[in-house]
């Protein structure tokens, strides 16, 4: 299991992670979501033992990761760079990692390599960005570590290759309970691969839940309310609705139609609005991307504000 306990990570005066607590159960495919500079890559680098936290603990299977060879043996980290080890051929790069990771599997490597048809004796600096990414992913999987950390994992891959790589990851997760932590801006892919996710913003975790519950916990409501007894239109404000306990991420009114993004199960929301006897009431589940945008909007990270 991965645990971050009250972890603080600073880069000089900049706080990248602000006393973060996070738990990732073994065998989970965990997605790290967040705005740029939210702290996703910092978490991955802390988990791979590259960074040392200023405060708090970063634990894998109950042990601190930093400078811990036994724990690092269980973790493989793929960062978002593609230029490293450019002087190697794929074979040399495989041998390089094979010498460090005791469980390295030649069979797995060969099987995956053949599946994506990567040349074994060609210099990696002659590879395209996508091929470099595939190369390091298959090596990462062949290392047979218990934890695989991927930073912008699918960056540079063409759509077909994305499917193949995702399948490789899913197979590994199913075959050997591989714990995968993936950071990505591509929420659809996180949605497809991960079962749990955390949303980060400005070094803090906004939520960390399984994705099903995330997508079922925020809904978009379109409603039209009837006039009062005197025939006047009923005026609902955001504050009015919030006062009565509704957690609203977004509120908009166009003439008599209300567009509300609110947190809560569909049944709960229906029950909330039922006493107001809406003339029109439609409740629509949100995609992960929409939830991401609306959650961050509440925190002032709104694309409309960016001129």
């Amino acid at each position: 299991m991965i645990e971050l306990k009250n972890t603080l990570k600073k880069f000089d005066t900049y706080t990248a992670l602000d006393h973060v607590d996070l738990k990732i159960e073994k065998g989970t495919a965990f997605g790290l979501l967040g705005s740029n500079g939210a702290g996703k890559s910092t978490i991955l680098r802390l988990l791979s033992g590259i960074y040392k936290p200023e405060e708090g603990e970063v634990l894998i299977d109950g042990e601190s990761v930093y400078d811990n060879v036994a724990i690092k043996q269980k973790v493989f980290f793929i960062n978002d760079e593609t230029v490293q080890f450019s002087n190697f051929t794929l074979k040399e790069l495989k041998n390089y990692y094979k010498s460090y990771y005791r469980n390295f599997s030649e069979e797995t490597f060969e099987e995956l390599r053949k599946r994506i048809n990567l040349p074994i004796d060609k210099k990696i600096n002659k590879f395209s960005k996508g091929m470099k990414r595939q190369a390091i992913v298959i090596i990462g999987l062949a290392c047979k570590t218990e934890y695989l950390l991927l930073d912008e994992a699918f960056d540079g891959l063409d759509p077909t290759m994305r499917i193949i790589v995702k399948k490789m990851l899913v197979d590994a997760m199913l075959d050997r309970q591989l714990t995968t932590v993936i950071s990505s801006h591509n929420l659809r892919e996180i949605n497809e691969v991960c079962d749990t996710a955390a949303l980060l913003h400005s070094g803090k975790i906004l939520f960390s839940r399984d994705l099903d519950s995330v997508t079922s916990s925020v809904h978009k409501i379109q409603a039209v309310f009837p006039p009062d007894e005197n025939g006047n239109p009923v005026e609902y404000t955001r504050e009015h609705l919030a006062e009565s306990g509704l957690e609203i991420l977004h509120f908009e009114r166009s003439q008599s139609i209300y567009y509300i993004i609110a947190k809560g199960e569909a049944d709960v929301l229906k029950a909330y609005f039922a006493p107001k006897k809406p003339v029109l009431f439609e409740i629509i589940p949100l995609t992960l991307e929409e939830i991401f945008i609306y959650e961050l909007e509440v925190l002032g990270y709104d694309s409309n504000d960016i001129k």
Partner: protein
């Protein structure tokens, strides 16, 4: 499908080490090529040159061949220089993840501890740098070994005779390489960017020795009495802390040995230098390791991970420049402006702009103020009283004395060390407490026959430090020290080693052991020399006899025994029974001179000896010529004693026809005067001997004219 896993259990350190090697194999191959083209090529050229000497080749052809050889020699030297500088490249390659952001993650994420990673990288680079050099050296030796029978043993005899010295040169170079590589690694650990990493390596290598040298010169100039600025080449803080210093030690060592000074101070310091330089390298390594462990992965891409390094480099540069300008009146401001320009340019580069640039101004001001204060402290404290520093005899392991015409002699004899320290203390006291001393000065005396001597005293202490001093002094002060030296075992051994050097060279290099074409010469008191042919066995026999006699010589012998003459420059006393026996067996006449041997003789009764003593101890300048320049040529000091050992010049004297008395006085006179005043100078055939106040010498002297 069942996956097989590699379960081999080898250390991660070893894996990292091997992988580092694989990653840098190109540099390794280049280094191997350079090393194979370096010393081995020079060895081949050396063999060809030796072979050409042996052949009867016309001069024009020899010149042509030598010219071709020279070209290869230059290629070999260039390759060696390149291979030496590869130490910097190898260090940069092995620690590239400290200043290249793109590869930092992959190195830090590997299942290795920081310690494993650091030492594997260090040792991998170390091997890559040192092993090709050692291979090159071994190959060159093998080439010379194989080539020697081909070109003729005799042509290579000198090389193989001095092979132990060659091994010492090689040791110095290898240790200097370790120092260079380790210092480069240390410089890299301070930096997080390629430019700064390269700049820091160069800056460390240049500025460490430059700063040490500038501090030393500033200290020397603060109060230069007796201080030898050139003594820095013996200071470990200069020679052991940087490759430039190591190179200066190499040059000094090679220069001394080339001059045949196998017993030189540098030669004596060799082992200590090796040990201290390795210790310094270990300290650099420890510092690099601590800095490496302390720095964070995220520090990469910062110009300087430790800003102290940048300000350290810049302050050293400012010190070097300002300390030079400090001595030039009116130029300090120009120096500050020059430093300021350099400082601000470097600040702009390392800050990548003008962010918080006011801090650069504060930094520069602080550096300038520190340097000016330091220079003033040097002056105010007269170089921290360095000129007064005399080590305690107990702390001195050896002393190297050079005076009169003698070559350097390294002595560990406690008595000699005590006498040296005693003399040194008196010299310092005479200079710093001049009010306690008075001199019997006279004007308008001859100034060209001064009884003064220069002396170089180089101490090596048990802690490994060195203290070097140069003085000029009245020779009479050297009496006790000279006595102690002449009675020491080391003097006897050194004399044994040096005796007949010229003749041995002829035996070894030209004629071999067969012919007796060499000659040994004995100068008796008539001033004439007697020569006899000899071979190596005879040389060995005389040398051993002389060594036995010198070792057995007592103080009484030295002071009172009759002086019979000189053998290869070494004195022969009447107590040297073994030597005299061998010489007489060979047909030499050793002993007293008789009236028949000399027709005339000259003498000077109660000669007056004078010195520049007062001017010497009042002068601030250590350089010999400066004493003459600053002394009052007309004012001389009458001295009560002199010290003289070998060559004595005396141009005065009253000539008389030889008679029993004058010959007896000549037989009683000597060239060895140890801190006393002779009662007469006796000159025979231009050779001057002194008559000392012994027994009835005075009475006999008075009879001379009667």
């Amino acid at each position: 499908m069942t996956a097989t896993t590699s379960s081999k259990k080898t250390s991660f350190f070893g894996k990292r080490y091997k992988n580092d090697f694989r990653q840098n194999k190109r540099t390794f191959i280049i280094h191997i090529i350079m090393e194979l083209l370096g010393l081995p090529l020079i060895a081949v050229v050396g063999l060809i040159a030796a072979y050409i000497d042996e052949l009867d080749v016309p001069y024009e052809n020899v010149a042509q061949i030598y010219s071709g050889c020279s070209a290869f020699l230059v290629v070999g030297i260039i390759c060696i220089i390149i291979s030496l500088f590869l130490g910097m490249t190898i260090a940069l390659n092995h620690f590239n993840y400290l200043y290249k952001k793109s590869i930092t993650d992959m190195n830090y994420a590997l299942p290795l501890s920081g310690t494993q990673r650091f030492f594997a990288d260090y040792l991998s680079g170390f091997t890559m740098y040192l092993v090709p050099a050692i291979v090159g050296i071994l190959l060159a030796i093998a080439i010379l070994g194989i080539g020697t029978p081909i070109v003729g043993e005799k042509n290579m005899a000198e090389f193989w005779e001095n092979f132990h010295l060659v091994l010492r040169y090689i040791s110095i170079v290898l240790v200097a390489m370790i120092l260079f590589y380790t210092l480069s690694v240390l410089a890299i650990t301070f930096c997080g960017n390629t430019f700064e990493a390269i700049f820091s390596i160069i800056a460390f290598n240049v500025l460490i020795p430059a700063t040490v040298a500038c501090v030393w010169v500033a200290l020397c100039e603060s109060y230069p009495y007796g201080i030898d600025p050139g003594g820095i080449v013996y200071k470990n803080i200069f020679t052991s802390t940087s490759p430039v210093g190591a190179a200066s030690f190499f040059v000094m060592y090679a220069f001394n040995l080339r001059n045949g000074e196998t017993q030189s101070f540098a030669s004596f310091l060799f082992a200590k230098w090796i040990i201290i330089t390795l210790i310094v390298s270990a300290i650099y390594l420890a510092a690099a390791y601590l800095l490496y462990r302390h720095r964070k992965a995220e520090d990469v891409s910062k110009p300087y991970v430790y800003k102290t390094a940048f300000y350290g480099i810049m302050t050293m540069a400012v010190f070097c420049i300002l300390s030079l300008f400090f001595t030039l009146d009116g130029f300090l401001a120009a120096g500050i402006v020059l430093c300021g320009i350099g400082w601000f340019i470097m600040e702009v580069i390392t800050r990548r702009g003008f962010k918080k640039f006011w801090q650069a101004g504060i930094g520069f001001a602080a550096a300038v103020i520190s340097v000016v204060i330091l220079c003033n402290v040097f002056t105010a404290t007269k170089g921290f009283g360095m000129a007064k520093n005399v080590p305690s005899a107990a702390s001195v392991e050896s002393v190297t004395i050079s005076y009169f015409d003698s070559s350097e002699l390294v002595i560990r004899d406690r008595k000699v060390i005590e006498e040296t320290v005693k003399l040194h203390k008196e010299l310092v006291d005479r200079h710093f407490n001049q009010e306690n001393y008075s001199y019997n000065t006279v004007n308008n005396l001859r100034y060209y026959n001064l009884e003064d001597s220069d002396i170089s005293i180089d101490y090596s202490t048990y802690t490994g430090s060195t203290i070097t001093r140069d003085y000029r002094l009245p020779s009479g002060m050297l009496g006790e020290l000279t006595k102690a030296i002449l009675l020491s075992d080391e003097y006897a051994k050194e004399t044994y080693n040096e005796m007949f050097t010229y003749q041995y060279n002829i035996v070894n290099k030209v004629y071999g052991d067969i012919e007796k074409n060499i000659s040994i010469e004995f100068y008796d008191k008539t001033g004439e020399y007697q020569g006899k042919p000899a071979d190596k066995a005879i040389l060995d026999a005389i040398r051993l006899a002389y060594y036995n006699d010198l070792s057995a010589m007592t103080e009484d012998d030295l002071l009172n025994a009759k002086f019979y003459g000189t053998l290869d420059g070494a004195f022969v006393l009447e107590t040297f029974e073994n030597t005299i026996a061998v010489l007489e067996e060979l047909g030499f006449q050793v002993g007293d001179v008789s009236v028949e041997d000399l027709t005339t003789i000259s003498y000077e009764k109660y000669p007056v000896f004078h010195s520049d003593a007062k001017a010497i101890f009042e002068a601030d300048y250590s350089e010999v010529n400066d004493y003459y320049y600053y002394s009052d040529a007309d004012e001389k000091t009458i001295v009560d004693s002199i010290t003289s050992v070998r060559y004595v010049y005396h141009d005065e004297g009253r000539y008389v026809t030889s008679n029993e008395t004058s010959i007896e006085l000549l037989n009683r006179s000597t060239k060895i005067v140890l801190g006393e005043k002779p009662i007469a100078a006796i000159i025979a055939n231009g050779e001057c001997y002194y008559l000392l106040d012994r027994g009835d010498n005075k009475e006999l002297l008075e009879q001379l004219e009667g």
